[in-house]
């Protein structure tokens, strides 16, 4: 009996450790949801659990990069990283819902200012983190 239980535990371990990874919110939430399955909506529960230790929000596509941001920056970083594609487009267009959200979450001036500096601020950013850092210089 004990042998059986041990065997089961050994078999189950990779599963458990895998589940833990997803709870740390290290990009995997996005991985889970980007794989189309008929019932993907139900697997989405793994992205972010309501309560501690994963108390905060998912870090989405940060992709486990070891980055340090001040805690009051966390939401803005998360916002820019997760919305990178849409944000880049709307910053080129000069307006839109994603831009409004950015202005609110980063306390930024106006979208026109960013559109006029698109070539230096938005275009060179290769990912969300770089875009955030460039935007911080404009907004700050």
């Amino acid at each position: 009996m004990r042998l059986l239980a041990t065997a089961l535990l050994v078999l189950a371990l990779p599963m458990i450790s895998h589940a833990r990874d997803t709870m740390d919110g290290c990009g995997l939430g996005w991985e889970v949801t980007s794989d189309e399955t008929m019932i993907a909506t139900t697997t989405r529960g793994t992205t972010n659990v309501f309560v501690p230790p994963a108390f905060g929000m998912t870090t989405g596509t940060l992709g486990c990069k070891q980055l340090s941001f001040a805690s009051n920056e966390k939401e803005a970083v998360n916002y820019v990283v997760n919305n990178y594609s849409n944000l880049k487009q709307q910053l080129a267009v000069g307006q839109g819902e994603y831009v409004d959200g950015l202005i609110e979450v980063m306390n930024c001036g106006s979208a026109d200012k960013i559109q006029s500096q698109y070539d230096t601020v938005v275009a060179p950013a290769k990912d969300g983190v770089e875009l955030y850092q460039n935007l911080k210089n404009v907004c700050g």
């Binding site: 599963m15 458990i16 895998h18 589940a19 997803t22 995997l28 939430g29 991985e31 889970v32 949801t33 980007s34 189309e36 399955t37 008929m38 019932i39 993907a40 909506t41 139900t42 697997t43 989405r44 529960g45 793994t46 992205t47 972010n48 659990v49 309501f50 309560v51 501690p52 108390f55 905060g56 929000m57 998912t58 989405g60 939401e75 998360n78 916002y79 997760n82 919305n83 594609s85 849409n86 880049k88 487009q89 910053l91 080129a92 267009v93 000069g94 307006q95 839109g96 819902e97 994603y98 409004d100 959200g101 609110e104 979450v105 026109d112 559109q115 698109y118 070539d119 938005v122 275009a123």
Partner: protein, 610 residues
């Protein structure tokens, strides 16, 4: 700990005695505690431990009031987070303080407060419904989750709350279905920023979102959060795909805060789209309904506003050709950007550096032009798919007509069909994804002068007619699993269990579909020549919806290997949300006779119900 509480309860004089004697059995308390009637008494719906203080709290609402009040006085550490009982059960504590005369000193709850502050001044609650995946009618049942509105202006900064089965991400599909249906997973509440929900549904999966803002005020919204908190940190429900699923538990949580709203009653299963109807049916429960079109629909809307010349520019660019900058109007560029986002979502990791370089070209060109983008309002055919406008899921079909079968000659015919869900191709599309079909178990009886018989016993049938467009090309398909009584002469009056798969292409817009399917049908029966029959076939169909209240379908099918031809012509019109009239003409021809083996003409009345 339980022993201690029992002792305390026994020693303590009943703290509720001076209050209304029926508090323990009041609807407010029963709903807050998730009791359901069970035999002569009540039973908890929670499957995890930790939600009740009384040893018999799961079945004894009165004992639980007393035990809870007692626990709130003690300096205990309960819940997954080792919190004071008042902090682990903030809504229960508030409720009992309001409804009893207990005098208990409130404690400070920093962890719970931090949790609430993450919602940035939660002030309103919205129930969100996500429509089907494009090209997958099986997902028409949808999904629902909550949106908690913050005091900030931008909606993307609100929070989404989801209830779902907690599953390991590598669970194989069979284990997933089995455990899901039989409650093998625990339900988990999770929270995400709303922009993440929008990214998942609107951008990555191209599903529309319908947002039903409820009339819960700020206090009630905070109480809802407190209640979900006390469910999640202390206990859990087992998750059942069909009934105790995402939609059900969300409704139960809302009912705990709004005990006068009856939302969660159901027959066999809970369909998310149906729960939206439940909520809409409660007078005054919904303040406002908003629509967020999927990326696919955004693209469709933008594309519809382009001139022919602009469409050509769009196609050229998307096909990788070089396009002169002067052809790039603002409208073309903005449509291209949406088209690129859509393609990016579909390609996922196959999105190449070259693809990115082409997007960057458009972006840089667009950033030089400060013109505002064109505002496009969603067209009527998208707005009519709001789930509360749909017909109900169950249906009864009564039909009568005239039949000529080769061996019995002419006769009158009566049919009765009962179906448990959901939507077929001729049914009115209000409230559903147009031109898609998902039918769940059904049974159909026939009576003619030869007597009555079981004509059809169906398990599932699903059809997707996805139109080919410049911006999205996907196959159309059908899967059908049903037993049907043979109409031809090869196996007279046999009930043939069969499986049909069809694959093909469709053309169309919001008013029609033309489609061609290559199909295969496998049937088994001892009276068939080899005990089974495999037939390849071809199907051509035309569905036409010239106006909202009329649909027509013309379908021709030909099977080889025991040749049979079928022609079906149908008309349908809704007479109210839950009533529909249909007329069908049908000819079945096979190679035994030169004349039709089956000729039918009938009128049908359909009543949808729940």
């Amino acid at each position: 700990m339980n022993f201690l509480l029992v002792l305390l309860v026994i020693l303590n004089i009943d703290p509720v005695r001076a209050d209304a004697p029926d508090l323990a059995y009041s609807r407010e308390w029963l709903r807050l505690m998730h009791y359901q009637p069970h035999g002569n008494g009540f039973k908890s719906e929670l499957d995890g431990k930790g939600f009740y203080f009384a040893p018999d709290g799961r079945t004894n609402p009165r004992a639980e009031i007393e035990a809870s009040l007692e626990a709130f006085k003690q300096d205990l550490k309960v819940s997954r987070l080792k919190l004071h009982p008042q902090c682990a059960f903030p809504e229960r504590f508030r409720f009992l303080m309001e409804h009893t005369r207990a005098d208990i000193k409130p404690v400070d709850c920093p962890v719970f407060k931090e949790f609430l502050s993450g919602f940035h001044g939660a002030k309103a609650t919205t129930l969100v419904f996500s429509s089907a995946y494009p090209n997958n009618p099986a997902s028409m049942f949808g999904h629902s989750f909550l949106k908690i509105e913050s005091d900030r202006k931008n909606e993307l900064l609100d929070s989404g709350i989801n209830y779902a089965a907690f599953t390991p991400p590598d669970a194989n599909i069979f284990a997933f279905m089995y455990l899901g249906v039989f409650g093998g997973y625990q339900g988990t509440w999770s929270r995400d920023p709303y922009f993440k929900k929008v990214n998942d549904y609107i951008n990555a999966e191209s599903r529309d979102l319908w947002e039903y803002q409820l009339t819960l005020n700020q206090q009630e919204t905070l109480r809802l959060l407190a209640h979900i908190w006390e469910l999640e940190v202390n206990s859990h429900f087992d998750y059942f795909f069909f009934d105790e699923n995402c939609s059900y538990q969300i409704l139960r949580a809302i009912e705990a805060i709004k005990p006068d709203w009856n939302l969660s009653e159901h027959r066999i299963y809970v369909i998310p789209g149906e729960t939206i109807k439940r909520v809409s049916d409660v007078p005054g429960a919904v303040r406002e309904v908003r629509f967020r079109p999927s990326l696919y629909h955004q693209l469709e809307m933008q594309f519809a506003h382009l001139s022919d010349e602009e469409r050509k520019t769009y196609r050229d660019y998307m096909n990788g050709k070089t396009v002169a900058p002067e052809r790039m109007s603002v409208r073309v560029m903005d449509t291209l950007l949406t088209g690129i986002l859509h393609r990016k979502a579909r390609k996922k990791r196959k999105w190449s550096a070259e693809d990115q370089a082409r997007e960057n070209q458009v972006l840089e060109l667009r950033s030089k032009n400060p013109t505002s983008p064109m505002r496009i309002e969603p067209p009527a055919h998208l707005l009519t798919s709001r789930p509360d406008w749909g017909h109900d899921p169950y249906s009864a079909h009564f039909s009568g007509g005239w039949l000529e079968r080769d061996e019995i000659g002419a006769t009158s015919l009566f049919r009765l069909k009962l179906k448990s869900a959901y939507h077929d191709l001729l049914a009115p599309d209000h409230g559903f994804t147009p031109f898609s079909e998902i039918e769940f178990p059904w049974v159909e009886f026939h009576a003619d002068k030869k007597g009555a018989r079981l004509q059809e016993l169906g398990l599932i049938s699903s059809t997707s007619l996805f139109p080919l467009t410049h911006f999205d090309q996907r196959p159309s398909w059908r899967l059908r699993w049903a037993a049907e009584t043979e109409r031809g002469r090869e196996c007279q009056n046999c009930l043939l269990p069969g499986f049909e798969a069809a694959y093909g292409l469709a053309l169309g817009d919001h008013a029609y579909r033309l489609y061609a399917f290559a199909l295969g049908k496998a049937e088994v029966h001892s009276q068939l020549q080899h005990g089974y029959r495999l037939r390849p076939g071809l199907e051509l169909g035309w569905i036409w919806k010239p106006k909202e209240k009329y649909k027509m379908r013309l379908v021709g099918r030909r099977f080889w290997n025991s040749i049979a031809n079928e022609l079906r012509w149908e008309h349908s019109t809704p007479i109210s949300r839950n009533q529909e009239l249909r007329q069908t003409s049908y000819i079945h021809h096979d190679d035994h006779f030169g004349r039709p083996a089956w000729l039918e003409f009938r009128l049908e009345w359909i009543s949808y119900f729940r």
